[in-house]
């Protein structure tokens, strides 16, 4: 019985560790991140929630896969001004629609919600000051 509990705990711990972003922290690499070009805007996408660490759906921007919802991870995309739809899929699709202007930086947090079989990851547009603060401890998870 003890052995079973130990094994279960080890598996859970391993999943937890493996599931988290392991790249450099935003606070460490932010000085080296190039500025967005004047003709484009930037969208930072990040996830702070460790809950449901095993659930890491792809993140799509207007249907194109741009990254994964890795716990404690962030990535960014530079795009031309326009209408954008950010989608995550678990047992259901969740999307956020937003506008991006020239030179604008937007922050999208990937939250975890309750699901029927698995948790849902859903994107939420957050205020710039909130995004700038929360992303500091996230690690770069890369695009795609």
């Amino acid at each position: 019985m003890r052995m079973a509990i130990k094994s279960f705990a080890t598996i859970l711990f391993t999943l937890f560790i493996v599931g988290c972003a392991s790249g450099p922290k935003y606070s460490e690499i932010s000085p080296s991140i190039s500025e967005v070009t004047p003709d484009k805007g930037r969208i930072y996408i990040y996830r702070t929630a460790l809950l449901g660490a095993a659930i890491q759906p792809e993140v799509k921007l207007n249907g194109e896969v741009v990254g994964k919802a890795v716990p404690n991870g962030f990535f960014y995309v530079d795009r031309k001004p326009g209408d954008y739809k950010i989608t995550t899929s678990t047992e259901v699709d969740r999307h956020l629609s937003l506008l991006l202007d020239k030179g604008e930086t937007r922050y999208v947090r990937l939250n975890i919600g309750m699901g029927f079989f698995v948790g849902h990851v859903y994107p939420e547009l957050v205020e710039k000051d909130v995004g700038e603060k929360e992303i500091q401890k996230c690690s770069y998870s890369g695009n795609k």
Partner: protein, 142 residues
């Protein structure tokens, strides 16, 4: 016999799971009607919101318009003048989340314009706003 029971269980469980995953958590929708934003017609006057406003959305979500936020008219739709602000983020939320502008008619908030969807989402009960109209010349965002 056991195989038969297993087959029946699979045959009933799979459609059930598929139907649940397809709709169970997608039941709250934002009511929307298509709206054409006219940017060339006469727009409303820009304003500052003097008092914060709490808005109850369908589905139990709430939003607030912050005090002292400045709103610029970006156009007109059939339901009223459409205003946008750079001072706060405004979204309408149900199962999905949509960036939104406010729609005002007779100094009342009557709903939201969803710029990506090009649609209007009405408020059940229009809300009166306490505003201070801008005396400066208007700048258009769109």
């Amino acid at each position: 016999m056991r195989k038969m029971i297993l087959a029946v269980a699979v045959a009933t469980t799979v459609p059930f799971m598929l139907s649940m995953s397809g709709c169970a958590f997608d039941v709250i929708h934002v009511e929307q009607t298509t709206a054409k934003l006219e940017t060339s017609s006469a727009c409303g006057q820009d304003f500052r919101l003097v008092e914060a406003v709490e808005i109850r959305l369908t589905g139990g979500y709430s939003r607030s318009l912050k005090k002292d936020t400045r709103w610029n008219c970006v156009g007109t739709i059939e339901q009223g003048h459409v205003y946008r602000t750079k001072d706060q983020i405004l979204t309408v939320e149900a199962s999905n989340i949509y960036e939104a502008y406010i729609v005002i008619s007779d100094n009342k908030l009557v709903g939201f314009y969803l710029p990506v969807e090009h649609s209007f989402s009405p408020l059940k009960d229009p809300l009166p706003l306490t505003i201070e109209k801008s005396t400066q010349s208007k700048t258009k965002d769109e």
